[in-house]
Symmetry: C2
Subunit: 191 residues, 2 copies
DNA sequence: GTCTATATGGTGATAGAC
DNA sequence: GTCTATCACCATATAGAC
């Protein structure tokens, strides 16, 4: 359980890391944005890397929670829709944390990367299980599960590169569009 | 027209930027990898940013060339397949340049970002025109063109985050899988 | 829990010799 | 076209007072 100051630091750090990138954000920048001294920051966190690690961890734990809820839905199509909507909603509602988690992975040392990657793998496995279930029950076509899961996550995750809040669509609506595109396909059945 | 040394610098820089990130790669790192002094680098490039800019420019120019070739194919389905294959092939054959271009955009100053973004927009417009053509001719379903184009590029571009050369599949094969998934859809027609 | 001051080393970039 | 030496600055992180 983090103190209030600790959380304030994480929020502001996630905002700055998202905006300028982790490497391009200095501890000085962060301290100034918070109205604190650098030394005060180092009272709450051992290092800048630990701040990144904590943000990534919280983002993935929240996302995993969403994924589990969605995959509990019995019907596979509905479960996939909920999974995709949930992912998009989590992204939009926790954009700084989510983006920092996805963009910052490369900046973590191998020791700190490992637990993050393990969580990410659990999340992806949740999606693969959902797809496998749909294929076995005949709702989905029999396709390469790993590649299909990657397709779903590619669609959703690439939103960090173009989606800006305040646009015409909510992230959840984009996810729904992708879901229908993915399910029914691009090709016109008439021709 | 670049000299041989200039090109050698760009190649090595793209490799390092891809591996560690642009901000985390110092001019010192680059000089050591090339067996040159920092001062020698500054004879060939005005700044580290100019190196990033040159790499991004070359990557996008090559990609745009591929895109034009694909969209010249008359039948829309075939054109889309060629577009996606061409994108994936360009990625795999020019991975350091391609990845640096996609990841480094945020690190460029607004002045240097602008021409890069303009080229990227031209490339994306090529894809949108291709999709529009397919929808008007009745080959594709009538969908939001901008969002459909984003879906295609999301699938392809997210490969920079997971695709590693030497794996079981070539990037082009992944693109073909995505193409068929996108065209026919995930849903089983039997049910 | 926050501060000022500082340690230590690396950063992008340049001067000027060869 | 490359080098050695150096500039001016900023990085992460810490010591010790309050």
């Amino acid at each position: 359980m983090g103190t209030a100051t600790r959380n304030r630091i994480l929020e502001e750090a996630a905002r700055l890391f998202t905006e300028k990138g982790y490497e391009a954000t200095s501890v000085q920048d962060l301290a100034e944005a918070l109205g604190l001294s650098k030394a005060a920051l180092y009272h709450h966190f051992r290092s800048k890397e630990e701040v990144l690690y904590e943000i990534s961890l919280q983002a993935l734990e929240g996302l995993l929670e969403e994924g589990k809820k969605a995959s509990a839905v019995p019907e596979a199509r509905e479960a996939l829709l909920r999974f995709m909507e949930g992912h998009a909603r989590f992204f939009e509602e926790n954009r700084p944390f989510f983006v920092t988690m996805l963009q910052g992975l490369q900046s973590l040392s191998p020791e700190k990367q490992a637990p993050i990657i393990a969580l990410r793998d659990r999340y992806e496995e949740t999606l693969r299980a959902l797809l496998r279930r749909g294929m076995e029950s005949g709702v989905f076509r029999q396709l390469d599960v790993a590649l299909t899961a990657r397709a779903v996550l590619s669609l959703l995750n690439w939103m960090i590169r173009w989606f800006r809040p305040g646009g015409p669509l909510r992230a959840e609506e984009v996810a729904r569009f992708y879901f229908h595109l993915l399910l029914r396909g691009l090709e016109n059945g008439d021709s």
